[in-house]
């Protein structure tokens, strides 16, 4: 466990050094989404009985949390593995390898949570104010954890940085747009809807929207998130052990 805390300590030091860069990078894209889709496209639009701006903000929170957690960890681990080659120094240290993976994933989850809070603050000038409660924080954290674990696993599997770009293009970006973040899935053809239901971001977006807009909170979606988080974490740990062949 102390190994995971050491990784968290390192990520905290890094975060302190780059606080301004990290923070500004986290809010630029969401602000553009809110201006373009919230003010531009959706000014007079209602979605499932809500103002469009109120409707999309939970989606922007979930996708930003996903991008932030995934990006922070996949970038960090792939750079240390492939470019700096400092990941090997972790493996050479007397630590339990599963804590090495879990420490990074926790750091990514916290980064995702931080991004979520930022988006809520960004929403205020757009006239959207949500009360933040424990379920909201838990879902944001699990969402970040899930995608940090996916980022860790992807970073352990790739051979070049180009592979990571491809992974982001084919997996992360489609999820950002398709998983009910900007529109209701009811409008999609049945087959496509079923496919999108399998994706993890669909469930975190649905839960966050239900929490802030007062909808029905589906425990099934939360269980799906936990299942994905567990599977990605186990895959990450296995990939870490396989690095020491």
């Amino acid at each position: 466990m102390s190994e995971a805390m050491t990784i968290l300590w390192r990520e905290w030091v890094f975060f302190r050094h780059r606080f301004f860069k990290i923070t500004t990078a986290q809010i630029v894209t969401p602000i553009l989404y809110l201006i373009a889709f919230g003010w531009g496209v959706g000014e007079n639009l209602q979605m499932d009985g809500n103002q469009y701006m109120s409707y999309i903000l939970p989606g922007v929170v979930s996708l930003t949390s996903m991008r932030s957690a995934f990006g922070a960890i996949s970038m960090r681990v792939s750079v240390t593995r492939l470019h700096e080659r400092s990941f090997e120094s972790y493996l050479a240290a007397p630590i339990k390898i599963h804590w090495l993976a879990i420490g990074h994933i926790l750091a990514g989850a916290l980064r995702g949570l931080y991004s979520s809070v930022l988006i809520l603050l960004v929403g205020i000038p757009f006239g959207v104010i949500y009360p933040v409660d424990l379920p909201f924080i838990i879902v944001c954290f699990v969402n970040g954890f899930m995608f940090a674990a996916l980022g860790f696993f992807a970073a352990m599997m790739i051979d070049t940085h180009y592979d990571m770009n491809r992974f982001t293009s084919f997996v992360i970006t489609p999820m950002a747009f398709l998983c009910g973040t900007f529109f209701s899935l009811k409008k999609l053809p049945w087959v496509m809807r079923q496919i999108i239901e399998l994706l993890p971001l669909t469930h975190s977006t649905r839960l966050l929207r239900a929490i802030v807009l007062g909808g029905r909170i589906e425990m099934f979606s939360f269980l799906v998130m936990l299942a994905y988080a567990t599977i990605f974490t186990l895959l990450s740990i296995r990939a870490c052990y396989e690095e020491v062949v």
């Binding site: 102390s2 050491t6 050094h17 700096e84 090997e88 120094s89 050479a92 007397p94 630590i95 020491v244």
Partner: protein
């Protein structure tokens, strides 16, 4: 003490390390020399637990690497040939992080980092972010990091590659001090002068095997203390008289000089039997 018994590692059809046995006494400054692809890095990676072996065993201070990997890892420090520093952290933070990774508390890590900063003369650079350090400073920091947990054995895989001559000599001085304080050092390098200056025992390795193990002077003696170098060939002689006799038969320009460790290395790489 390091004891290696019949160690073997294969990658497909290539045998990187071939039934290799070796022992290194505690407190030694031991050099491992060989051409590229000789199996040195694979051997070191097995010794430090980064890769497993197909056969054989490695014991360090009585611990078996397969069984007590973490106990061994606590006793060893590793300086990789790659600049594997955390580029986003400062010099002091890099050291503290390394200490924490090896089980020191935050307070212990900071105290030890202060000691290392003083020993390595890094006081002016302690707050610098690593990516802004010169190559020589980075190498010093890598060695300092590897010593944070006070290992009994230090593995140096080409620790001065890319470092200028002045900084290299500074690092040699520090390494000698570290060794004289009782730390066993295992060095691989392509700089023969470095091996000759630092090591009190050297193993020559090729095709996954140790070909010879001796002191630097012992290895040179096996080849011949005196070299006669001409455009067409370099010949080695045990006595100066033999060298002069041979040189007199040459019809081209020649040089008579002392045999160096580099001559030993080249001869071994070309397949000569010492």
């Amino acid at each position: 003490m390091i004891q290696i018994e019949t160690l073997t590692k294969q990658y497909g059809e290539i045998t990187a390390v071939n039934n290799l046995s070796l022992s290194i006494d505690a407190g030694r400054f031991f050099g491992l020399l060989g051409p590229n692809g000789a199996g040195k890095t694979t051997l070191i990676r097995m010794m430090v637990g980064l890769i497993g072996s197909d056969e054989g065993e490695v014991h360090i201070d009585g611990h078996l690497i397969h069984r007590d990997a973490n106990a061994i890892k606590k006793r060893i420090g590793i300086v990789s040939q790659h600049m594997n520093l955390d580029k986003e952290l400062s010099v002091f933070e890099n050291m503290e992080f390394s200490g924490r990774m090896y089980g020191l508390s935050g307070k212990e890590s900071r105290a030890r980092a202060e000691e290392m900063i003083e020993f390595f003369g890094l006081q002016k650079h302690r707050a610098k972010i690593c990516k802004k350090l010169s190559g020589g400073m980075k190498r010093k920091l890598m060695i300092a990091k590897a010593l944070m947990h006070q290992p009994t054995v230090l593995f140096l895989d080409e620790p001065t590659v890319g470092v200028d001559a002045v900084a290299r000599r500074d690092i040699w001085r520090l390494l000698k001090e570290i060794n004289s304080s009782g730390t066993t050092i295992l060095l691989t390098t392509h700089y023969m002068e470095e091996a000759h200056t630092l090591c009190d025992e050297i193993a020559l390795m090729n095709t996954g095997k140790i070909l010879q193990k001796d002191t630097p002077e012992g290895l040179i003696s096996r080849l011949g203390q005196t070299a006669v170098e001409s455009d067409s060939a370099t010949k080695y002689f045990a006595e100066m008289s033999g060298a002069k006799q041979y040189a007199a038969t040459l019809e081209e320009l020649y040089t008579i000089r002392k045999t160096t460790l580099e001559d030993v290395f080249i001869s071994m790489s070309e397949g000569a039997t010492l």
